[in-house]
């Protein structure tokens, strides 16, 4: 009762990173609230899920194991969460802001009449005063997210309804093992008590999931290009620089929209959130929506011909010049000085 739940997303028997990141966050919140961290997995052949998630500090793992639950479809997974939440009455429920989480979350929130905040970038615990009703609420979940195209940051609370639900994008929270040896309790659900036959009305006929080729989140160095790169031809310089430094290439939305880079390389509010050791922003102006996805990089170098580009205000090193001039020099002097 009154615990924190994380919905586990599973593909090919592997728990998604975003779920592990949420477990890490959920563990911290549960410590603060002095409650349990619980996880729920719905799918088929889930024997190996426990060993993947217990190290993140899961106290109880609920398994709904049934052939019909994989691949994911909306209604049966909704029924499992809705019925389980009715029994367990969690205070907080978290899921990934993914194609699955954003399909499932609103459905569950609608059934339980509880509020849901999509795409949170931070989750905290705090108090809330409802001045009109003259009520003070302690220990609410602050669901913090950008709004209005990233121009404002809003803190949302759900004072009265439970669970307080939020989705978070992959890469926004950090994942961290709590205790590699920890083993929590496993509860196997009797699936037929949770779903009904009418839940299986949508049939998946075909499914092609690709493993992402680009792993921006894990890259210690990111060389990112913006509209200022000018052309797909010029963009190739970034691959050269990334190759010599051992990094990955990222992009702004303007670069993606203009076809210079693939969508999966986009960094920012509607792309991936990254926090590498070094971020080199090349021909990126530094609009709020871009900065939202890279501001936590340990070191930022900005290369921009405009001395007043907004990106410069958050950069550790500002090189005022053109990418055509600066990038080849960086490659040249790295080759000369390394080893």
């Amino acid at each position: 009762m009154n615990n924190i739940f994380v919905y586990l997303e599973i593909e090919d028997g592997i728990v998604a990173d975003v779920s592990l990141e949420l477990l890490t966050k959920g563990r911290t919140l549960a410590d603060k609230q002095q409650c349990k961290l619980e996880a729920v997995a719905a799918g088929y052949q889930l024997d190996k899920i426990g060993e993947q998630v217990f190290p993140y500090g899961v106290d109880t793992l609920y398994l709904a194991d049934d052939k019909r639950l994989s691949p994911y479809t909306t209604l049966p997974h909704t029924s499992i969460l809705v019925n389980l939440f009715k029994e367990e009455k969690p205070q907080i429920a978290l899921m990934g802001a993914t194609s699955i989480g954003r399909d499932l979350g609103p459905r569950v929130s609608s059934a339980l009449f509880s509020g849901l905040t999509a795409d949170c970038t931070a989750l905290e615990i705090g108090t809330y005063e409802d001045k009109k009703a003259g009520k003070v609420y302690d220990d609410l979940l602050y669901q913090i997210r950008p709004a209005f195209g990233g121009n404002i940051v809003a803190t949302i609370v759900n004072p009265d309804c439970r669970p307080q639900m939020a989705t978070v994008r992959e890469g926004v929270m950090k994942k961290e093992i709590r205790n590699a040896k920890h083993v929590g309790k496993t509860v196997k659900l009797d699936v037929s008590n949770y779903v009904s036959d009418t839940d299986f009305v949508i049939e998946v006929i075909e499914r092609h999931m690709e493993k992402s080729k680009v792993n921006l989140k894990a890259a210690p160095i990111i060389v990112a290009g913006g509209y200022g790169m000018g052309s797909a031809e010029n963009f190739k310089m970034l691959y050269d620089l990334a190759a010599v430094l051992g990094g990955e290439v990222g992009a702004s939305r303007a670069a993606v929209d203009s076809g210079m880079a693939e969508h999966e390389r986009q960094i920012g509010q509607t792309g991936t959130t990254v926090r590498p050791k070094l971020y080199i922003a090349c021909g990126i102006s530094g609009q709020i929506q871009h900065i939202a996805g890279m501001q936590d990089s340990s070191m930022i170098i900005a290369i921009n011909s405009d001395p007043d580009a907004p990106i410069n205000t958050i950069a550790d090193y500002v090189i005022t010049g053109t990418v055509e001039d600066v990038i080849p020099k960086m490659i040249k002097y790295y080759k000369k000085n390394s080893k």
């Binding site: 399909d103 070094l278 550790d316």
Partner: protein, 290 residues
């Protein structure tokens, strides 16, 4: 055979073109500085509806929108592109609705429209980017849903096959109507306005728009019933007052801050060879690279 398609479309502030004057000095949004547009993915939804209409004999497309009086513009715009008409759900009872209260009201309106075979929404509205209203309506109506639809591949005997575009792949799914579909921005663009339809419908108005306008066209609206855009208030839909508007919204905004990034102390360099080489040496020395 009658076949009723309802498209949910929302009028939104154009957050994609936020200029400097979009934020007021006190950090709140200056809505007046943003133009109101047809939510982009709702146009993709409309296109899918119009395509279905063209393949199903007797099919009709109606657009349902909840918003202020001026949101009737969305319905007219839809008619210019081929919709048969629409409904505006408007009134102060709906003010302050979060996604749950919005879906409650829209679901009630859909029940009132009655005999709806398919409900097509956009994936998400750009003012909040939540992507919640479609699935929440489906739940309230007890209907299945297909989200992230990119293309309707097949429709026959009340079964629909849809290609979904997901973050990491594609899926083809099949299900029986009635249901709710939410359409992705990657789906086909909406056809442009049709000149003849634009002429035909340019005087289509809601009752409040007619009352606000100085000329009286009563005759026109009696002889041309298709020019009447239906306008519903809270009293027209079956509802429990506590689920509408602010009181039906479990989420509350505690605080809003405009985004300011704390400027760092940065080192300024020129592209001179010596400066770039120094920088690279420094980064190697402190193990940032290499």
């Amino acid at each position: 055979m009658s076949f009723n398609i309802v498209v949910l479309a929302k009028q939104v502030p154009d957050t994609r073109n936020v200029g400097k004057d979009a934020m007021k000095a006190d950090g709140t949004v200056n809505r007046a500085a943003l133009s109101a547009i047809y939510n982009p993915e709702d146009l993709n939804a409309l296109e899918q509806a119009l395509r279905l209409k063209s393949t199903i004999e007797g099919a009709q497309v109606h657009v349902l929108t909840m918003g202020p009086a001026r949101a009737a513009e969305i319905i007219r715009e839809s008619m210019y592109r081929g919709a048969d008409g629409g409904y505006l759900l408007s009134g102060r009872e709906f003010a302050g609705s979060d996604t749950l209260a919005t879906s409650y009201a829209l679901a009630a309106a859909i029940r009132k429209i009655n005999k709806v075979d398919i409900i097509i929404c956009g994936r998400q509205a750009i003012d909040g980017d939540t992507a919640q209203v479609g699935p929440q309506i489906a739940e309230k109506l007890g209907l299945p849903q297909i989200t992230y639809a990119e293309e309707i591949l097949d429709f026959s005997k009340r079964e629909i096959t849809v290609k979904r575009r997901l973050e990491r792949g594609v899926e083809v799914v099949k299900g029986a109507l009635p249901m709710v579909i939410t359409v992705n921005g990657s789906a086909a663009n909406c056809r442009p306005r049709h000149a003849k339809l634009t002429l035909k419908y340019k005087n289509a108005k809601t009752v409040s728009e007619r009352q606000a306008s100085s000329t009286d066209y009563t005759d026109l609206y009696e002889t041309h019933p298709y020019l009447n855009i239906l306008e519903w208030g809270a009293s027209d839909i079956e509802h429990e007052p506590q689920w509408l508007g602010l009181s039906g919204s479990p989420t509350k905004v505690k605080q809003i801050e405009s985004v300011v990034f704390t400027a760092k102390e940065s080192k300024r360099l020129t592209p001179a060879d010596g400066e770039i080489e120094e920088l690279i040496k420094e980064l190697i020395a402190n193990h940032t690279i290499g």
